[in-house]
């Protein structure tokens, strides 16, 4: 069915959401057009294409795109589509080319997408075909830009500048990068791709859902604590013992971490503390940080402790762990979640190794944490097929969001994260120029 703007607006109430936003393929198509087409979407990191001609391919929403570095070392984000009859130009996840060449009829393109060659031009003479017409290029996405090496693109020519769009949430990306003694990070250690049989928003809603870990992750926390209790006192310290048990923290602990919400749907939990706050620090790393930043700034960087930060709708990062998860929606009930890890330039290898251990323990398809989360999303996806109740609720700490100007703040177990996301959802989905007029969004 198709929806009027009023009908869509009616699906998001201050404390209720209509189930169809998770189950109706028509809503999913509109989301791809209006939210994924209107917002800034994470494409990749500059370190993935270090040299001229390096590229990566991915789906933006469900459109094929390619990120490539040209001969002047500028990065472009192009539609991965031939200007002739439409074939996908490159079909490897990453690679290197001197120029793009279509596999079908051999049209070639410069690294910025400009058409460079068409075989057998003879048949085109006098037909009105103009090889220099930009319509035959590989098309650039309307906007692309990067912040500290993280490349985003937008289909929306009227999107605000990337930095403005990130707003106060940029602090967390700064923290991720500042944790490198050189202030720079690079992608390292490969990617996990995890198929989720659920709507993309269920994954996002879980990021700052701190009412679930003590329930959903009880089994792995109990199993870890049980086993740790059998070990002799003087056993070697294990990162696992620092990473797993905090998932069983109490409501009080999670409430104290707080949630902060921004315009455009971004939010994070933590800041002063999080479930990552008590990790031990490698002394070699500490030395490298002190040498680079001095004592005060080092303390400031390492005690800034967020858990999950969402850049709505496509990217979530863990600054204290240096991993990110990227949301790639496939269908109304299917989403692929990618987990990427970062090396902190100038830091010892142990930091990357801990990041990878974390991803393997918490986010991997074979882990004992992610599969329990996914079971919950899957059950919600199935449960919402029910017509017994058309609404889900999000009342926690409603009416108590504290307005601090550019942000709203509330307790860590509040539903502020959901209210933040759905203010953005509603604005994108109902406004003809969603990004030009978001005044009402943060309130």
């Amino acid at each position: 069915m198709s929806y009027s703007t009023e009908q869509i607006a009616d699906m998001v109430k201050p404390t209720f959401l209509h189930r169809k936003i998770y189950t109706d393929p028509a809503i999913f198509e509109l989301e791809m057009e209006r939210i994924w087409g209107g917002s800034w979407i994470f494409i990749g990191h500059e370190s993935q294409v270090p040299n001229a001609g390096d590229y990566i391919t991915l789906n933006y929403g469900h459109l094929p795109v390619v990120m490539v570095r040209d001969k002047q070392l500028n990065i472009h984000v192009l539609h991965n589509r031939c200007g002739h009859k439409g074939a996908k130009i490159v079909d490897k996840r990453d690679g290197h080319v001197n120029a793009f060449r279509c596999c079908y009829h051999g049209w070639t393109y410069a690294l910025d997408g400009t058409l460079a060659g068409v075989p057998n031009m003879k048949g085109y003479e006098g037909t009105g075909f103009d090889r220099s017409d930009p319509r035959y290029n590989m098309q650039k996405l309307a906007r692309y830009d990067s912040y500290r090496g993280f490349v985003f693109a937008s289909m929306n020519p009227r999107a605000p500048d990337l930095k403005e769009w990130m707003g106060g949430a940029a602090t967390v990306m700064d923290n991720l990068c500042d944790r490198s003694p050189e202030g720079e990070v690079e992608v390292a250690g490969g990617v996990l791709r995890y198929e989720h049989e659920c709507n993309w928003k269920l994954f996002l809603e879980n990021l700052n859902d701190t009412m679930h870990p003590m329930i959903v992750h009880k089994s792995v926390v109990d199993a870890a604590n049980d086993y740790i209790a059998t070990l002799p006192e003087d056993s070697a310290r294990r990162d696992e013992a620092e990473i797993i048990p905090p998932f069983g923290a109490s409501y009080e602990v999670f409430e104290s971490t707080g949630i902060t919400g921004f315009r455009y749907g971004h939010h994070y939990d933590g800041g002063e503390t999080s479930i990552h706050a008590d990790y031990s620090v490698d002394p070699d790393y500490e030395r490298a940080m002190l040498a680079a930043y001095g004592a005060d700034r080092t303390r400031e960087i390492l005690t800034y402790n967020t858990h999950n930060t969402l850049y709505y709708p496509s990217l979530t990062i863990k600054s204290a762990i240096q991993n990110i998860r990227v949301v790639r929606p496939i269908a109304v009930d299917k989403t692929i979640i990618e987990t990427w890890s970062f090396r902190l330039k100038g830091a010892p290898d142990s930091l990357l190794q801990r990041t990878l251990l974390y991803s393997r323990l918490i986010n991997a398809n074979g882990s004992m944490v992610g599969p329990d989360d996914l079971t919950a999303y899957f059950r919600v996806q199935q449960g919402l097929a029910s017509t017994g109740n058309d609404w889900i609720e999000m009342h926690r700490n409603f009416g108590q969001d504290e307005d601090q100007g550019d942000r709203l703040v509330n307790g860590g177990t509040s539903d502020l994260d959901m209210r933040t996301q759905y203010a953005a959802w509603k604005a994108y989905m109902t406004n003809d120029t969603p990004l030009a007029n978001q005044e009402a969004q943060a309130s």
Partner: protein, 163 residues
């Protein structure tokens, strides 16, 4: 270590161990399974076909005894939503070859197909196993197992149990 049999294991000894392991996994019995591993045993499922490093690169699984012990307990926990569904597997192992015999360590490669029925869906996994086996007082044991799925770098769903 006294009374250790020093002769190399025969193919029959090796098959017996691999089939025992498969039988425990078919029943999702990690209590029995873990006994087949040495105390310093590891289980690795890389995410790339020729992955060399389990520590500086992400993997689908890389467990030592500590994680095996946690996983064994987690599987039996009454409150693990992902374990609400029965897990039934059927492993077929074939093409078993000894590829290396160095000192006490026998390296064995094999092909496997494994059907996993879980949460109303049946998934087919396939690929190669590489087992490193050692003699111990209580017989032949697994010191390391590497599982290379032929689709290790695809977007996979949950892998609910060791394969």
């Amino acid at each position: 270590m006294t009374n250790v049999i020093t002769s190399n294991p025969t193919i029959r000894d090796i098959e017996e161990l691999l089939y025992d392991e498969a039988a425990f996994l078919d029943k999702a019995d990690l209590d029995g399974w873990i006994e087949l591993y040495t105390d310093d045993g590891t289980y690795w499922m890389p995410v790339l076909p020729d992955q060399e490093d389990p520590v500086n690169h992400i993997s689908l699984f890389y467990d030592d005894r500590v994680l095996m012990e946690i996983r064994r307990r987690n599987l039996k926990h009454p409150r693990a939503a992902s374990k609400d569904y029965p897990i039934r597997c059927s492993h077929i192992i074939s093409n078993i070859r000894v590829t290396e015999q160095v000192d006490e360590i026998t390296t064995v490669e094999s092909n496997f197909h494994c059907l996993v029925y879980y949460n109303d869906r049946q998934t087919t996994y396939g690929g190669t196993y590489r087992h490193e086996l050692v003699r111990s007082d209580s017989g032949l044991k697994i010191r390391h197992k590497r599982v290379d799925l032929i689709n290790c770098d695809a977007a996979l769903n949950t892998i609910i149990i060791y394969l």
